[in-house]
Assembly symmetry: C2
Homo-oligomer: 311 residues x 2
């Protein structure tokens, strides 16, 4: 049975060695750290994770390392998107075999525009190619990056054809009208907006949480917000989380997350990016850290290289 994810899912950054290879040990460490700081799940190999910059073999190796390193597979929702159906099927089979709670799949993102019929055929090809009752395939709508979105007509067809395998969507459009429309049009379909800045508003309409880049930096702040829902503290924590996000969003998010975490957690493996992404210049990284500090943000505890068992 696919898992009903909810709460805070973080698209964990992917650490690289100085040679540009994925660093499995550091990946396990950052995954464990994010869960220890309050994440409910990890949408590894998302956009923030530079997932599409990883080969199929690299994604599989990292996912194996995470599970071997003690990350419960049911909290993992790895990104399996690629332009080639065969690659996405292979990645999805591997994730299902490991017991992952779900997978997050971009549409095929080379050919534009793509028709609803063509996108339906692609997702149907993944689901039928994997052919498992344990598959939860979450859709990934991020048209401003992928160039190919997930229109409502596609959601409607996929839910009708594969109700057990398509539990929900990550809406990274940043377009509130689109998020609101999904929530209203598809009751029971589990919608994760990509920004904690709209978390209370979205959850009031039925959203189940958020999958957010800035969860890499502020998992504790978003955890506190989620835990305070329905209490007098909630609005204050919402404003605080939104303020932290607004500071990060001044810079490119992926680069900002890596610059802050590598410096604050004092781990050079968290700094490198793969081309075509390039690191934040040092002066901008320092300015970002200064502004976060001025806003009261503190890094929530060190990485744990000793791998203390997760609770």
């Amino acid at each position: 049975m696919p898992r009903h994810f909810a709460g805070l899912l973080v698209p964990a950054i992917t650490p690289f060695t100085a040679e540009g290879l994925p660093d499995s040990a550091a990946f396990v460490a950052i995954c464990r750290w994010l869960l220890a700081q309050g994440a409910d799940g990890l949408a590894v190999f998302g956009t923030t994770s530079e997932g599409t910059s990883l080969t199929v073999a690299e994604r599989m190796t990292l996912l194996d390392a995470a599970v071997e390193g003690g990350i419960p597979p049911e909290v993992l929702m790895p990104g399996v998107g690629s332009p080639a159906l065969g690659d996405t099927i292979a990645l999805t089979r591997h994730a299902v075999a490991l017991g992952c709670g779900g997978v997050l799949s971009l549409p095929p993102f080379y050919y534009k525009p793509a028709s609803v019929e063509g996108l339906f055929a692609w997702y149907a090809g993944v689901i039928e190619g994997v052919a498992s009752d344990n598959l939860g395939l979450w859709l990934y709508h991020i048209p401003q990056i992928s160039g190919v979105g997930i229109p409502y007509a596609l959601i409607e067809r996929l839910i009708a054809a594969f109700p057990a395998n398509v539990p929900g969507i990550k809406d990274s459009s940043g377009d509130w009208a689109n998020t609101e429309g999904m929530l209203k049009n598809f009751p029971g379909f589990r919608v994760f907006p990509s920004s904690e800045a709209v978390l209370l508003k979205a959850m009031a309409l039925g959203a189940v949480g958020c999958i957010t880049a800035t969860g890499n930096i502020n998992p504790h702040g978003i955890r506190a917000l989620l835990d305070a829902r329905g209490t007098p503290q909630a609005e204050g924590l919402q404003a605080k989380a939104a303020a932290i996000r607004a500071i990060l969003a001044v810079y490119p998010l992926i680069q900002g997350c890596k610059a802050v975490l590598s410096a604050e957690l004092n781990d050079t493996r968290l700094a490198p990016l793969r081309p075509p992404l390039t690191p934040l210049p040092a002066d901008q990284a320092q300015a970002l850290r200064d502004r976060l500090a001025q806003a009261g943000w503190r890094v929530p505890g060190p990485l744990d290289p000793a791998h203390t068992p997760l609770i």
Copy 2:
């Protein structure tokens, strides 16, 4: 030494079985057929070839089959583009090891916008990762599909850093001002526009030929045009080739090429497309064939399943 491609290069369509798997035998047959009809080279695994819909292993298997099937490797310029640097390096190494005359590489096409610095780092990573004097890496500019283009500033940096490895570009923008600017700004850089409709005009400014989707259908017409350059027949053949292209361009080009070739060459392996592309509806395919026939187009000879040796 990388090859100095020139003339007509065709991004050969990729045949698939009814199960959606690449059909190596049909691929060899269509490659041989295109060369027999006048193509100077084959830019296999391009956009028209659904190259990015193929896995790394599928592209390698097809390329091996082509060479084993008697296609001279020096006429091949396989597409090696992918969002993951490691995949592009692996594909490029394989092509160079086979003796291919060059490779055609999209920029990494997931993250948008991409900086010149980031794209330079990516291409440098390919060239340095392959590290071969025999590598000719041709740039592929098709921003309306890939979402990431090749700006002049990137060409300038790549030519300066890797003069022996970056011989030219395929400009599929369809933007004449861009093609003209490349020809004027980078003397000696080998520019292939993507449309035979501008062939004489582009070659007059220094273009070395064209790499065109419609070369799948009209290799004989474009061959005749190339051979007639400088003769009184050239303008008439240019107009005729442009007219054939205009008919095809009424429909999506990839779907149109597959619909026409599968019907006219009577081979069902040439018809299927991979998602997210979907076949042309039967009535449109028929209308396209009717219009081509009315314009005097005829399919130039049958596929040769017997594999008569190429001249």
